[in-house]
């Protein structure tokens, strides 16, 4: 399979996954499944801003959803989920558009990104753009003016995927809700502050202070092993509060890491120069990619084996993609 075919199929599966997730979160679409996990809204937004460049309808419905539900979102976390300049530019464009639709200080876009000298098309395949959206143009992207569809709804708080929103309604938008989400969904018996910091996108010191406060309030338990403080949540008590059995709590996925890795693979596979590179350079570039994502994938429990042979690098990448997609149930299916 050549890289462009792999890229197209990969993109299709990511688009289908994003539709399935957002449909359960209030975006205007019919849910095709019931995801068993708690989603990370900001990680999914930054991911979708890239993935939906191949699906303008998804992109525009996402923006409509964000407009309806912006009070449930953390701008700070949106920025923390960005892994590169493209993420920062896309996020700046989205925040700029939201701020124009609903002027609020927290949506202001100061210092987010500088406008690029030349505009690049936002969508992968679109004809000439006669009139440009100025908020997206300010972030360097060319697209027609975006108007809200007003079709989005608030997330169903009882759906497993929406646990993050429910906790934000209870604990407020911020580090407490994120820490509790991780502690309630993870399979690990305990979590330390460093892991929670990586999972939530907040600084370790802030996570530590928040956990200390929640421990003092007796809604989390803390124990010390060696020099390390470990944290655990009383799942039965939290489940009772949420009106479910402990075994009905949603499961955990390391969304920031998984979705960042998928985004990097997608961007790598869409580089047009891959088609004209020598076989070796293409393999070497794939090796760069694998080395970049291996830390995130290891954090998410997906090992990467790198053999010292350029001939096998591309097949290793292709073989790695499948378990990552299976982890998020993004199996092959028809795109809407």
């Amino acid at each position: 399979m050549n890289v462009s075919t792999l890229s197209r199929r990969f993109s299709d599966r990511l688009v289908a996954f994003a539709w399935d997730e957002w449909a359960q979160m209030g975006l205007f679409a019919t849910p095709q499944r019931r995801s068993p996990w708690a989603q990370d809204p900001e990680a999914l937004i930054v991911f979708t801003l890239e993935v939906a460049r191949a699906e303008p309808r998804l992109f525009d419905e996402l923006m409509d959803w964000a407009l309806v539900n912006e009070s449930l979102l953390s701008v700070r976390r949106l920025r923390a989920m960005c892994i590169d300049e493209t993420d920062r530019a896309l996020t700046a464009a989205a925040l700029g558009w939201l701020a124009r639709q609903r002027p609020r200080a927290r949506l202001s876009n100061h210092g987010m990104t500088a406008a690029l000298a030349t505009l690049q098309p936002l969508f992968r395949s679109e004809g000439p753009v006669n009139e440009t959206d100025e908020d997206f143009a300010a972030a360097g992207f060319l697209r027609p003016p975006l108007f809200p569809s007003h079709k989005s709804r608030q997330p169903d708080p009882l759906a497993p995927i929406n646990l993050a929103f429910r906790l934000r309604q209870i604990l407020g938008v911020g580090i407490r809700a994120e820490a509790v989400r991780i502690l309630l969904t993870t399979e690990a018996p305990w979590v330390n502050a460093q892991t929670l910091a990586r999972s939530t996108g907040y600084a370790k010191r802030n996570v530590h202070d928040t956990l200390a406060g929640l421990s003092t309030a007796r809604v989390l338990s803390t124990f010390t092993v060696g020099a390390e403080q470990r944290y655990t949540a009383d799942r039965p008590a939290w489940a009772a509060l949420l009106g479910c059995q402990p075994n009905e709590l949603p499961i955990h996925r390391d969304w920031p890491q998984l979705l960042a890795a998928l985004r990097r693979i997608l961007r790598w596979s869409e580089q047009p120069e891959l088609e004209t590179m020598s076989d070796y350079l293409r393999a070497s570039s794939a090796r760069d990619l694998l080395e970049t994502i291996r830390s995130d994938l290891a954090f998410a429990g997906i090992p990467t084996d790198l053999s010292p042979s350029p001939e096998s690098t591309l097949s290793e990448l292709a073989q790695l993609i499948e378990p990552v997609l299976m982890t998020i149930n993004a199996g092959p299916r028809a795109v809407r």
């Binding site: 020598s278 070796y280 350079l281 070497s284 090796r287 010292p308 042979s309 690098t313």
Partner: protein, 197 residues
């Protein structure tokens, strides 16, 4: 094929082509003069494996200049190739470049075999005759082992050994060197009396 060793002419070619690709991809271009086991492999003169590629010199306007230290861009490219092929980071090294200090055999550049590895890399492989010079010197200077094996594989004629011996003495005119040189020549059935003018 690699396993931290360059074990065939094909493997040596693959490595140099990869190095050339990396250099070209970063807008760099170098011409290197290569000696040692990898050069012998690439030219099909020996079949033993080697762990490194010995850079004798960087070639600038037909001038051979010291490869010590290797330029940063060349090192960066070599490190990527090392990663991709599972080689040690110093697989490309300027180990023999000090040979330039006392001079190479006359006509080295003209005899060298030129090969181009894309727009980023051109290699001058030391010719068989020059490899005999260098291998004889290395055998006497550093001891037998792989150098003597290579020298035997090159099947030098008596005259080639005498010419190489004369040249090598310009690098080390000591009596100690001469006595070891005589033993090595004797190993090849050459009378050391031919060393004297």
């Amino acid at each position: 094929m690699f396993d931290d060793r360059i074990d065939s002419a094909l493997a040596a070619e693959d490595l140099l082509r990869a190095l050339g690709d990396q250099l070209a991809a970063h807008g760099e271009r170098y011409t290197l003069a290569i000696v040692g086991g990898s050069a012998l492999l690439a030219l099909g003169l020996v079949s033993r494996g080697t762990r490194d590629v010995d850079v004798l010199a960087i070639v600038e306007d037909r001038e051979l200049v010291s490869a010590q230290p290797l330029p940063a861009a060349l090192l960066d490219a070599a490190h990527i190739v090392a990663r991709d092929f599972g080689l040690s980071d110093d697989w490309l090294n300027p180990g023999p470049t000090s040979l330039l200090d006392l001079g190479l055999p006359d006509g080295f550049y003209e005899r060298a075999q030129h090969r181009v590895y894309g727009p980023g890399l051109e290699i001058l492989f030391a010719s068989r005759v020059d490899q005999i010079h260098l291998k004889l010197y290395a055998t006497v200077d550093q001891g037998a082992g792989k150098h003597l094996d290579d020298l035997e594989a090159l099947q030098p004629t008596e005259q080639e050994l005498i010419d190489a011996a004369h040249w090598s003495r310009t690098h080390d005119p000591s009596e100690g060197y001469r006595s070891v040189l005589a033993r090595v020549l004797a190993h090849f059935g050459v009378d050391d009396e031919r060393l004297d003018p």
